[in-house]
Amino acid sequence: MKTRPNYLAGAAACVWLLIVGVPVYSLLSAALQPQDQYTNDGPLALPSKPTWANFDTVLHSGFPGYLWNTLVVAALTVALVLLFGVPISYAVVRGRGWWSGGVFRIFLVGLAIPSQAVVIPLFLIVNRLGLYDSLWGIALPTAAFALPVTVLVISGGMREIDASLYEAMALDGAPPARVLRDLVIPLSRSGIATASVFAALQAWNGFLFPLIMTQSEGSKTVTLGLYNFVSQYSDNVPALLAAVLLSAVPILVVYLFARRALVAGLVGAGGK
């Protein structure tokens, strides 16, 4: 159908390639340059004496600890979101009564609450719960704000399950918990995977909650660590950019092995 090559679109795509490519190249090049070469030649130069020293510097700073904290926060966030999101979705999709539509509507409205706007009372609540400066203090609010998308995505998947399958379960007289375990969860795996990736990415990219809810070195996440590196490595730009690059490695690994799930998770509710 579309056989004639579209030169105009091709040219525009090449312009965007430069806009994306040049900074990415600079990032790689700078991270591989020794500090004195970067000062003289700048981020566009070819790294003539490539070195791993910058990565070494970063890996011997607090960075591995930040990485670990981020992984813990992401795991807690995913666990919380599934723990609450799966039963809610199940109740919304299969429940009958005025409440089931109402619950769904609460989460639809919840989509629009910007976390920035409510961060002051959240700070108060986390403090009162005694969770200030702990990883739970980051994970709990992160999970709460990922919950609306989770419910939307997972309940969307559950709605696709064919009614005849439920009838088959009815012959067995299975209670709701068994129907959930044996039928609903296995058949909405892809929605659950998408929601998990989305929640993990929220935790991974989160900046505001770590900034406000934590204080000590021991509970810093990667994003906050980068913020600190800006002043700490103000005279060592290659090391700073090596840290930026290292912070993307875990997502890159996910991208290489589970591209489809990552993209679905990124798009989240927008894909619906």
Partner: protein, 309 residues
């Protein structure tokens, strides 16, 4: 095993008199999640409105002061400036991101091999967190050691972050750099969902590529445009981390947007009551904008019909 089967038949016999209908989950299933959401998302919404009526330093108990914060809010020149900058950033971001991501999304929806390869490259910025993106660009935009020193034909001799217009332009550039791939993905998916028959019919009628784009592709992308714009508006109203990391609200207070002003008022000058008034205003703007945009898209009605299934 035998007892298990026996148990099952016993239960089946119990259910026999009525037709075998499945027990549905009760409202109790939703309660734990609702409570969790209420504590960490809904209560803070009410809390921010209450705190906006108090004076609070974050340590002692909040003192109720009525509408004092709000009357100060209405006459605060800094709030006015922050609202204007937030608006300018929002408009700039939509004007740059919407056309670029529609074009890229439609382009990458093609199944050609070169398009697939380039799309993978275009996707790269999404692998970086916003913090990482901002830190990277802050270094790349450094007037002495970054790109401007080596690309003087493009940047001139000025510090791109040294003036208000330059700093706003940089914020738009960096935000677009990071989020255009995301919006392109939305458009790519939506474009691929357009029925091929529409294009075939148009081709038979002799419509060229440009006319097909304007008369089929764009109208079919209408809902995605609204979704994508909603994300841009809400994201733009709350673009806090990128401002903190890239410009720190400067030069001076030139890029101090509303969420940044709120953060400074609360966590740097410890005036939590007044900061809550700013936050309340932000909440109003963001929910108002997304409610308006969902109304436009009919998204609420769409899910309404799904509920009947």
């Amino acid at each position: 095993m035998a007892s298990l089967i026996a148990g099952r038949t016993a239960r089946r016999q119990q259910a026999r008199p009525v037709a075998p209908t499945l027990e549905r989950p009760g409202a109790g299933w939703a309660v734990p999640g609702l409570l969790f959401f209420a504590v960490f998302a809904l209560a803070p919404m009410v809390g921010v409105l209450y705190l906006s009526l108090t004076s609070w330093d974050g340590l002692s108990a909040p003192q109720f002061t009525g509408l004092a914060n709000w009357s100060r809010f209405l006459t605060d020149g800094q709030v006015l400036q922050a609202t204007a900058v937030t608006g300018a950033l929002l408009v700039g971001n939509i004007l740059v991101q919407a056309p670029v991501s529609i074009l890229l999304g439609v382009w990458s929806a093609g199944r050609q091999r070169n398009r697939a390869v380039l799309s993978a490259v275009f996707f790269l910025p999404l692998l970086l967190s916003t913090a990482a993106t901002a830190v990277m660009w802050q270094q790349l935009l450094d007037p002495n050691f970054g790109l401007p020193a080596h690309l003087t034909w493009l940047f001139g001799n000025a510090n791109p972050l040294g003036s208000q217009s330059g700093a706003v332009a940089c914020l738009v550039l960096v935000t677009s750099w990071q989020f255009v791939p995301f919006h392109s993905l939305l458009y790519q998916g939506a474009t691929r969902a357009i029925p091929e028959t529409l294009y075939q019919a148009a081709a038979i009628d002799g419509a060229g590529r440009v006319r097909q784009f304007f008369h089929i592709t764009l109208p079919q992308l209408r809902n995605t445009m609204i979704t994508s714009t909603t994300f841009m508006v809400v994201g733009g109203l709350t673009a806090f981390d990128i401002v903190l990391l890239l410009t720190n609200g400067g030069p001076g207070t030139d890029t101090t947007i509303l969420p940044f002003l709120m953060y400074q008022t609360a966590f740097r000058t410890y005036d939590f009551g007044y900061a809550s008034a700013i936050a309340g205003f932000l909440l109003l703007l963001a929910t108002g904008a997304s409610v308006l945009l969902t109304r436009l898209s009919g998204y609420d009605r769409m899910t309404g019909t799904l509920e009947g299934l």
